[in-house]
């Protein structure tokens, strides 16, 4: 177990380095710079700005400087938001994104698992088709259509929920963004659950359990669920990535102050440090999450040795 964890962490290092180098190279070869604006700057001023932000140094030196800063937890100053450092921006935005993404994931799992199990138990019946069709709508309607529709209905027409923003951070403000973010994931989880549940229900040990006359509830929760969870657990990695990208759209539509918005804003404004910061941060997050998923998988599946 420990060796496994150690090995995985070792592989994380090259992964991170590749990520850093790729992101750095990509954003630096991009046309346009952070100080380009409609009004052109006098060359002296531009030179001074470049000097102040170390953009006049050779690229490898800048990359080295960046890595050095990272090791000390310093993501550098933001080019765009001149009064803040990237570290400050990330530490302000991340809790919001985490809350949003975490809740969406939780919702997707809860609803997706129940829908999938329900459909599996009524395989090929009308309810099965209905439940699956419902789930499928989740992946068939783009989130940028679904979210405005939800706002229009629940916020503008019914006035039950706020139309955007975080307000005082209360629950009401989270409902719509979390639901919009979760919908596509619910669909995938429901589909995976249905498939693996059908398989597990057909297996010998469930038949044995049935023959012993155990109640349905106990068969599902006590015996079938754990093995049926395997594919869902391995989907969690891609799901995280999906939720993170989804949050880029959701945060824009709902005006939620999370990290996803910084990414797009940063890229558009050539805020080099901010974009790097967000990419690195999310990269670490995905690596970490895949690691946890692997551990969970090993715990769930007795066939895989630790």
């Amino acid at each position: 177990m420990l060796t496994f964890a150690f090995k995985r962490l070792l592989t994380a290092i090259p992964t991170l380095l590749v990520l850093l180098a790729l992101a750095f190279a990509l954003i630096r070869v991009a046309p346009g710079g952070p100080f380009d604006a409609e009004k052109e700057l006098p060359p002296e001023i531009e030179a001074r700005l470049n000097e102040a932000y170390h953009l006049d140094e050779p690229l490898y030196q800048q990359f080295g400087r960046y890595l050095g800063g990272l090791l000390q937890g310093d993501f550098g100053p933001s080019f765009q938001y001149k009064d803040y450092t990237v570290t400050e921006l990330i530490s302000a935005g991340f809790p919001v994104s985490l809350k949003l993404g975490g809740l969406a994931m939780l919702l997707a799992l809860l609803v997706g698992l129940s829908m999938g199990t329900w459909a599996a138990l009524h395989q090929n019946s009308r309810t099965d088709h209905a439940v699956m069709a419902l789930a499928m709508t989740g992946i068939s309607i783009p989130v940028f259509v679904m979210a405005p529709l939800l706002i229009l209905f629940f916020a503008v027409q019914l006035r039950w929920l706020p139309a955007g923003g975080l307000g005082d951070g209360g629950w009401a403000n989270l409902v719509l963004p979390v639901v919009s973010l979760a919908l596509p994931q619910i669909a995938v989880v429901a589909r995976l659950t249905r498939g693996s549940m059908i398989e597990v229900l057909r297996s010998d040990f469930i038949r044995t359990a049935r023959a012993q006359g155990l109640p349905q509830r106990e068969i599902i929760l006590g015996h079938a669920l754990k093995p049926a969870l395997l594919p869902i657990v391995s989907y969690l990695g891609p799901a995280t990535a999906g939720i993170i990208t989804g949050s880029v759209v959701i945060e824009q539509i709902f005006g939620v102050p999370g990290l996803g918005r910084y990414f797009v804003q940063g890229a558009l404004n050539r805020d080099y440090t901010l974009v790097m910061g967000v990419v690195v941060f999310y990269g670490v997050l995905i690596i970490l999450f895949n690691f946890i998923v692997d551990l969970a998988y090993r715990w769930l599946d007795p066939r895989v040795k630790l």
């Binding site: 991009a30 068939s140 229009l152 594919p231 890229a267 999310y282 690596i287 895949n290």
Partner: protein, 292 residues
């Protein structure tokens, strides 16, 4: 005729029979074909072209008498023809990007799985490393920086999806490698390359078909996501994603601009997913667990 090919033919006949029993999948298949035919026949169905503007017909509602069956957009262009042409782009992006990922994925996965040993470890390590990249971000960066070239979309999306394919194919190859007919071919002195080409790849077809039908809708969605960020195809060309995004901005004043493309988009995604699920069940029900 080799053993493997015989086996393959039987598998396909079985699968087709089993798929035909799946009503939902069959309905989806027919619907899908209808959409494809419509999209291909587009120019025959409407007197308008995708870029002809009409200043007196800005944002008018659908009507048979004006021949704007789906209404017009905010510069007076016919939405019927634009929706169908948009479908061409969306389907093409879906198809080509999926093919790109397929080719890379199969080559990579089959090689790694067949060669095995250190090569396998090294190749899969690379896949692991790439797996942890927030790829969508790179796609956004690429599109932002280097313009919205449609080939960029293909390549970018294909490059993300091949990782899944490589993993699946490798797993399948590993298990196929131990099968008798492969062992027999190897004993008979057939070269590695030919074994992979003749025995391994054809036997992967089932899983590949399923993968393709399930990946195309994902790619179409990715394209629409890029359109939302303003990074889609160049005007006057369009895609379902771009049309839906346009329509979503006027959903109350001109609902038709949203509804028609959205229905086409959703229906197509819906159908692909149903057909894909149906195919998966038909081809090999036991497959499911290993793949997911």
């Amino acid at each position: 005729m080799s053993n493997a090919q015989l086996k393959g033919a039987g598998l396909w006949a079985d699968a087709w029979r089993s798929l035909r029993r799946n009503r939902a999948a069959m309905v989806a298949l027919y619907l899908m074909m209808t959409v494809v035919v419509l999209v291909l026949a587009a120019p025959l169905l409407s007197p308008f072209s995708i870029d002809s503007t009409d200043w007196d017909q800005i944002s008018i509602a659908p009507s048979l008498s004006t021949q704007h069956y789906f209404g017009t957009d905010d510069v007076g262009r016919d939405l019927f023809i634009r929706t169908l042409y948009g479908g061409r782009i969306s389907l093409m992006v879906g198809l080509v990007a999926t093919l790109v990922s397929l080719i890379i994925g199969i080559a990579w996965g089959a090689t790694a799985g067949y060669v095995g040993g250190r090569t396998d470890q090294f190749m899969m390590r690379i896949v692991d490393v790439l797996y942890a990249m927030p790829f969508m971000f790179f796609v956004i960066l690429l599109m932002v920086f280097f313009g919205r070239n449609i080939f960029m979309i293909f390549i970018a999306v294909g490059a993300i999806n091949w990782l899944d394919m490589a993993r699946i194919v490798r797993g399948q190859t590993l298990s196929l490698k131990k099968k008798e007919f492969v062992e027999a071919a190897r004993a008979g002195g057939v070269s590695s390359f030919n074994i992979v080409r003749r025995h391994i790849v054809p036997n992967l077809l089932g899983i590949v078909v399923v993968y393709v039908t399930l990946t195309i809708p994902q790619v179409i969605l990715v394209e629409s996501f890029l359109s939302f960020l303003g990074l889609g195809v160049q005007e006057p060309m369009t895609s379902w994603g771009a049309l839906v995004n346009d329509g979503a901005q006027a959903m109350e004043s001109a609902p038709w601009a949203l509804i028609f493309p959205a229905v086409f988009l959703a229906l197509t995604l819906f159908c692909f997913n149903f057909v894909g699920d149906g195919l998966r069940d038909a081809l090999d029900p036991r497959d499911r667990q290993e793949r997911s």
